[in-house]
């Protein structure tokens, strides 16, 4: 029943998209300055129906309708309601439907919120966005249909992959999708702008909020993904330079660059083609990321089952997108005359963009290089943290310094008579850095530089905030985001420097001592749960200085639906540090292998990222106020 209803809705949506494209192109011939009402109406209907379509699938998951293949493959009647619902987008088919929803709703909202812009520009944006929608609807219907039926109807489902049964992962895809699928709308807008020669600075007005929205959600999406990796994967890290993580980071770099160059374009009318390129690039990178994840071309922590035919479809779609956008860009490209003074805000923002492009290219190369070696030479290699750490971290130091100075430089030309202030701030940062090192005793030149430069950014942002507060001329959005970025880098740096990691093979009743701590394996239990059995260890961590005791209970879980072995980390979070403990059976003896980590300031890393996104949201409200 649900299967027929869902399929019907998909067909109607295809029909509506075609209707919108047809009637939009037809209304170009009418000389009226307004877009006819019918287009608004069809667009509203389209959004409504696709949302109903999604709720139909959710309903299928809630009532465990195993006649739907997707529900059968990814759900189980015993699963908690929350995970039944999140299971809707925790699989390939359902998440594609989420893709289309975001494409459709953004298309509708863009139509509504851009009434002050030229009709042709809006029409073409709508048409291109609907071509994207059509592409994905066809993909869903003919290759990855969430409503495909199975018969005879199975009595029980196969269950959701256990490592995906996690609250963070339930909200991770929607957030991330709002980010990178959201970037589709300024892809369409950029194409429309090229087609209709709409290169006035008002073009920036029409897309800047969309860039901000997608950037904020992308930031949060990446954060939630990291938190999940930290809690669930049991390696104790939060960023692994895993190909799929990189896939979410690539559009983020492009968005961040766009966010900044858009300011220049809006204020000074410069960099038009660069802005367009970034708009196109962001969504192209998003689709590339989807291709890399879904085609199974890369192996990673994301366990979407692979299927080459999916890959071919997305690759085809991607190729069409790339070639049409490059073709259009080349056709319309005119050389722009940049007459920039080196001491101007424009230059600093351009430098920001160079940095972003540097990060982007580094990460892109690191991500796709293994595919190249595999295809061309047959060697399976993986590029891990060492590559990224060596290439990226030293550059971050300079980046942070420029990030601190840039925002205060004036448009057109700056005289730089506040050099003395900067030197003072730098001196202060160095002093604080040495205090930290002196107190906790650890040393490496690079980590010192990282701490100093992040302090430099934090302090100058704070002074900035204080000054602008006095003048009542505030740009808190930027200050919060920049200062929080400084905090993020500083906390990551401190976390890295002062982390303690100990590896032991331990037997029941045994105690291991290190530094001021002792760990005792007090108890081992085997428990049977509804869909897994678990070996649960009880380990006592004692701080011999303060006599504080903590009991941590890591688990080894053996899931049945589907069969998987997972190691559950036990984590004790506090404001100053996290204790992180995993236990496994893999070692060359009869013992249990435990890995204990003390990770200082973990929670502050999460908080900093939330603050970065918060700055973005704040800017969004400011923009609304000015408009």
């Amino acid at each position: 029943m649900l299967s027929n209803f869902g399929n019907l809705l998909l067909f109607i949506n295809i029909f509506l998209s075609l209707t919108i494209i047809y009637s939009a192109l037809r209304c170009l011939k009418i000389s009226s300055k307004f877009i006819p009402k019918t287009i608004y109406q069809i667009s509203t209907l389209q959004s409504t129906l696709i949302i109903i379509c999604f709720f139909t699938l959710i309903a299928g998951f809630i009532v465990s309708d195993f006649s739907l293949t997707t529900v059968y493959q990814n759900s189980h009647s015993l699963k908690p309601l929350f995970y039944k619902i999140s299971g809707t987008w925790g699989n390939h088919e359902g998440s594609l439907l989420l893709w289309v929803i975001i494409l459709t709703i953004f298309s509708f909202l863009f139509l509504i919120f851009t009434k002050n812009h030229p009709k042709e520009y809006r029409i073409f944006t709508l048409v291109i966005q609907n071509i994207l929608i059509l592409g994905f609807l066809f993909f869903i219907l003919f290759n990855s249909n969430p409503f495909s039926a199975i018969s005879p109807i199975p009595k029980e489902g196969l269950g959701l992959n256990p490592i995906l049964q996690d609250p963070a992962l339930a909200i991770h895809p929607p957030l991330l999708y709002l980010g990178f699928v959201g970037s589709s709308i300024y892809f369409s807008a950029a194409m429309a702008s090229l087609i209709t020669n709409y290169s006035q600075t008002t073009f920036a007005h029409s897309i800047k909020n969309w860039v901000l929205i997608s950037w904020c959600f992308q930031t949060l999406g990446i954060l939630v993904g990291s938190i999940w990796a930290y809690y669930e994967l049991g390696w104790g890290g939060f960023w692994f330079w895993d190909p799929v993580e990189n896939a979410s980071l690539l559009p983020w770099f492009a968005m961040t660059a766009l966010l900044h160059s858009l300011i220049v374009f809006e204020k000074r009318g410069l960099f038009y083609f660069w802005v367009i390129t970034l708009c196109l690039l962001t969504f192209i990178l998003s689709v590339t990321g989807t291709f890399l994840v879904r085609s199974g071309i890369l192996n990673s922590v994301h366990t979407f089952a692979s299927d080459p035919t999916r890959g071919i479809y997305i690759l085809l779609f991607l190729t069409l997108m790339i070639f049409s956008s490059i073709f259009l860009l080349f056709k319309k490209y005119k050389k722009e005359n940049y007459d920039l003074n080196p001491n101007s805000k424009e230059t600093f923002i351009l430098v920001n963009n160079w940095f972003m492009m540097f990060y982007l290219i580094t990460v892109l190369l690191g991500t796709i290089y293994p595919i190249f070696t595999d295809v061309l030479t047959g060697n399976k290699i993986s590029i891990g943290p060492p590559f990224y750490n060596v290439v990226i971290i030293p550059v971050v130091v300079i980046f942070l310094l420029i990030m601190a100075i840039g925002p205060k430089v004036k448009w057109i030309k700056e005289k730089f008579n506040n050099l003395k202030n900067y030197l003072l701030i730098l001196l202060g940062s160095i002093l604080i850095n040495f205090l930290i090192i002196l107190l906790f005793k650890s040393y490496s030149i690079l980590s010192n530089l990282i701490i100093i430069s992040s302090l430099f950014l934090i302090i100058s942002s704070l002074i900035d905030a204080f000054k602008s507060f006095k003048k009542n001329k505030t740009n808190f959005a930027r200050i919060i985001s920049h200062a929080s970025f400084g905090l993020l880098v500083m906390f990551i740096g401190l976390n890295d420097i002062f982390s303690v990691e100990k590896d032991y093979n331990i037997k029941l009743g045994e105690t291991k001592n290190f530094d001021n701590y002792s760990i005792e394996l007090q108890n081992l239990e085997i428990e049977k749960f509804s869909n897994y059995k678990a070996v649960i260890g009880s380990l006592e961590i004692k701080n011999n200085k303060t006599n504080k005791k903590n009991i941590l209970k890591p688990e080894i879980r053996i899931y049945e639906n589907p069969q998987t072995l997972t190691y559950e980390a036990a984590i004790k979070t506090s404001f100053l540090k996290d204790y992180y403990l995993t236990m496994s059976n893999i070692d060359r003896s009869d013992y249990y292998n435990i890995k204990f980590q003390k990770k200082p300031l973990m929670i502050w890393i999460w908080i900093s990222v939330i603050m970065i996104a918060l700055g973005g949201f704040l800017r969004l409200f400011q923009n609304e106020k000015y408009n």
Binding site: N299, A305, S306, G311, L315, I371, I558, I586
Partner: protein
């Protein structure tokens, strides 16, 4: 000059797309679940004691074979061992042990203490042959039939339920 840039951008993109396309058709079997229902092939496992190899033809002689990956250093392997001893009494089933990344001496002590359930014992010192079976943690067991079709995979130590299901399949 401008045209050269344009053309080279096109060539680079075509190259990348082509590599992606070729990459799609390479098989990657890291996901073990998809292996159920598939046939195994190109099997060659070195015997534990001799410098001979256990091959596909040998597998075809058995009605059912349970391939069990184990090591002396693996605690859960000890847990499932009594069940393997039970299974070794089944007439319709042969047990093929693969000693995974282990020291020979340790493995011998293990079998002396707990008994040897295996009809055939092989070793995989580097853990490379096991990758072909899609193994990435032990213990793991694979039940195959005469046609080398994978009937069932067991990740983690065998439970009594697993035991029952194996007995049901082979009888």
């Amino acid at each position: 000059m401008k045209n050269i840039i344009k053309i080279s951008i096109f060539i680079i993109i075509i190259f990348i797309v082509a590599v992606f396309f070729m990459g799609l058709n390479k098989d990657t079997n890291y996901n073990t679940n998809v292996l159920t229902g598939k046939k195994i092939s190109n099997i060659s496992l070195e015997y534990f004691d001799e410098n001979k190899f256990y091959k596909e033809e040998d597998l075809k002689k058995n009605n059912y074979t349970l391939i069990n990956f184990w090591a002396a250093w693996c605690a859960p392997c000890r847990k499932e061992h009594p069940l393997l001893m039970q299974l070794s009494k089944e007439k319709n089933l042969k047990l093929l042990g693969v000693n995974f990344k282990d020291k020979k001496k340790q493995a011998e002590i293990f079998l002396n203490d707990l008994g040897n359930p295996y009809d055939f014992l092989t070793k995989d010192e580097l853990g490379k042959s096991s990758v072909k079976f899609g193994i990435y943690g032990i213990p793991e067991s694979i039940l195959i039939n005469k046609d080398l079709m994978i009937l069932k995979k067991f990740v983690g130590p065998l439970s009594t339920e697993d035991y029952d299901s194996i007995v049901e399949i082979i009888n």
